[in-house]
């Protein structure tokens, strides 16, 4: 029996989804998946040379992509751990004290959501099969997490709280960093998807800062569980503990 057009449509899409899965599987990661927009012709154009000049160096578009990927991994163009660390430092210099979670969250979100290299890095997740890429993305993530931990720990302390039992500062920072990745991607789709939250205190809360506070609440507890005003008291002596 002949399959209907709709059935065939589904069949063909299933095959396509299979091809995508294969190209992400072991040994199948073809260059070009995320770098496909970097065409030799455009590179030649910008360099003011002929395509032939580039083909003189690379036998094919694929060979260029391969080399480009290695180049991106070696260089530091894509990876912003240093930038991340400077956000906390700049902010501390600007406000004259340790930034609050809200201030730090707003600054992190504003910087990353506007950084094209952040999105270029995300697109490289389609090359995870390449050990160079995986190792570099892993290294840069650890580096980033490590650099935000001190600011997060200061926020926790100044709120008179401590990390709950069964979790570490690392766990909290990993969750915050993951949330930041996800919300920046939403911003990239459409900035209207990540509006500021008009909370009653009249100061600016980016959605990221508000959701990071939610994580902070979940990952921490008051230093003194029993006392009703422990948080206030501890906040008053912030920095000494």
């Amino acid at each position: 029996m002949r399959r209907s057009k709709e059935q065939r449509r589904t069949d063909y899409l299933d095959i396509g989804a299979g091809l995508v899965a294969e190209s992400a599987g072991p040994g199948g990661a073809e260059p070009g998946f995320a770098l496909a927009h970097v065409k030799l012709a455009d590179v030649a154009d910008r360099a003011g040379v002929t395509k032939g000049a580039l083909y003189h160096i690379w036998p094919s578009q694929e060979a260029f992509w391969n080399d480009l990927l290695a180049y991106l991994m070696d260089g530091q163009q894509l990876f912003g751990a240093e930038k991340l660390a400077s956000i906390g430092a700049d902010l501390a210099a600007a406000v004259g004290t340790a930034p609050t979670l809200r201030e730090f969250g707003n600054a992190l979100f504003d910087t990353l959501s506007h950084d094209p290299s952040f999105f270029a890095r995300v697109s490289l997740f389609s090359y995870l099969d390449d050990d160079r890429v995986r190792a570099e993305l892993d290294r840069s993530f650890r580096d980033s997490v490590q650099r935000i931990i001190p600011v997060l720990e200061t926020s926790i302390g100044s709120m008179g709280r401590r990390i709950i039992d069964g979790a570490t500062s690392w766990d909290f920072a990993v969750a915050v960093a993951a949330l930041l990745d996800g919300l920046c991607l939403q911003y990239r789709i459409d900035p209207a998807r990540t509006p500021d939250v008009p909370l009653a205190d009249g100061v600016r809360w980016s959605l990221f800062a508000a959701a990071a506070l939610a994580l902070l609440q979940g990952y921490t507890q008051p230093l003194d569980d029993g006392a009703a005003h422990a948080a206030d008291a501890a906040a008053a002596t912030a920095g000494s503990g």
Partner: protein, 231 residues
């Protein structure tokens, strides 16, 4: 001054390529098509299906049209499995008799377990470089909007079950965007650094996604009957 060496030229051209990658502009991407699926060729699809290319082009006018449909398909797949599981849990009388919070924990573990390694789910991330292209961002948005539409009523049903409601000025939508963002971020990071993400958190040993989901749900909501002062 001498002619640049082949190696110098190679470096120059690579720098230009890197520049295109890192500063891919909205203007350029308007011209870009769904190139990230460039690996998927209609010829290969026809090959695997055992039909001619013409048969596939009978369904789609162009390779481009096929790839757009495929992207939508990839975005759909993952959502449907998740919502099915959550509805089942919410309808399971046995689960309801225990602590209803375990519904969310079980759902979160299921969703994270199912998608953290799923290549079809990951395909979406390579499209963000094209997100300045209105067509691509509309596709990506529709995928995430569908998550919010599907999960909105279910999360409200869950909140009712635990005697809470969304706290103004938060909305169900903001709650779900935050939860979905945490999910996508944890999936991304699990791919490169699984040991940092595969952790049991807190006294109940929740998965990292389950614990984060619960943190967001609690912070973005309030008790319907505030009988006791907030902690």
């Amino acid at each position: 001054m001498g002619r640049p060496t082949a190696e110098q030229r190679r470096q120059d051209y690579l720098a230009i390529g890197a520049e295109i990658v890192t500063n891919f502009s909205a203007e350029e991407s308007r011209m870009a098509t769904v190139d990230a699926l460039a690996n998927v060729k209609v010829a290969d699809v026809a090959d695997q299906a055992g039909v001619t290319k013409g048969a596939v082009y009978h369904v789609w006018p162009s390779q481009e049209a096929y790839r757009k449909d495929l992207l939508q398909r990839l975005l759909e797949q993952s959502r449907q499995a998740g919502i099915r599981e959550l509805r089942q849990l919410l309808d399971d009388p046995e689960v309801l008799n225990t602590d209803p919070r375990t519904i969310m924990h079980r759902y979160a573990d299921f969703a994270f377990g199912a998608l953290k390694e799923d290549p079809a789910f990951f395909a979406r991330f390579s499209f963000f470089v094209y997100a300045a292209n209105p067509e691509v961002s509309a596709l990506l948005a529709s995928g995430d909007d569908a998550v919010i539409e599907d999960f909105g009523p279910v999360i409200e049903q869950y909140l009712e079950l635990i005697g809470r409601r969304v706290r103004a000025p938060f909305t169900t939508e903001l709650m779900l965007i935050s939860i979905n963002s945490l999910f996508q971020g944890l999936c991304l990071r699990h791919r490169t650094s699984p040991d940092l993400v595969d952790r049991r958190i807190g006294p109940d040993g929740l998965g990292m996604y389950a614990h984060g989901l619960e943190s967001i749900v609690m912070h973005f909501s309030e008790p319907v009957h505030p009988s006791e002062p907030a902690p």
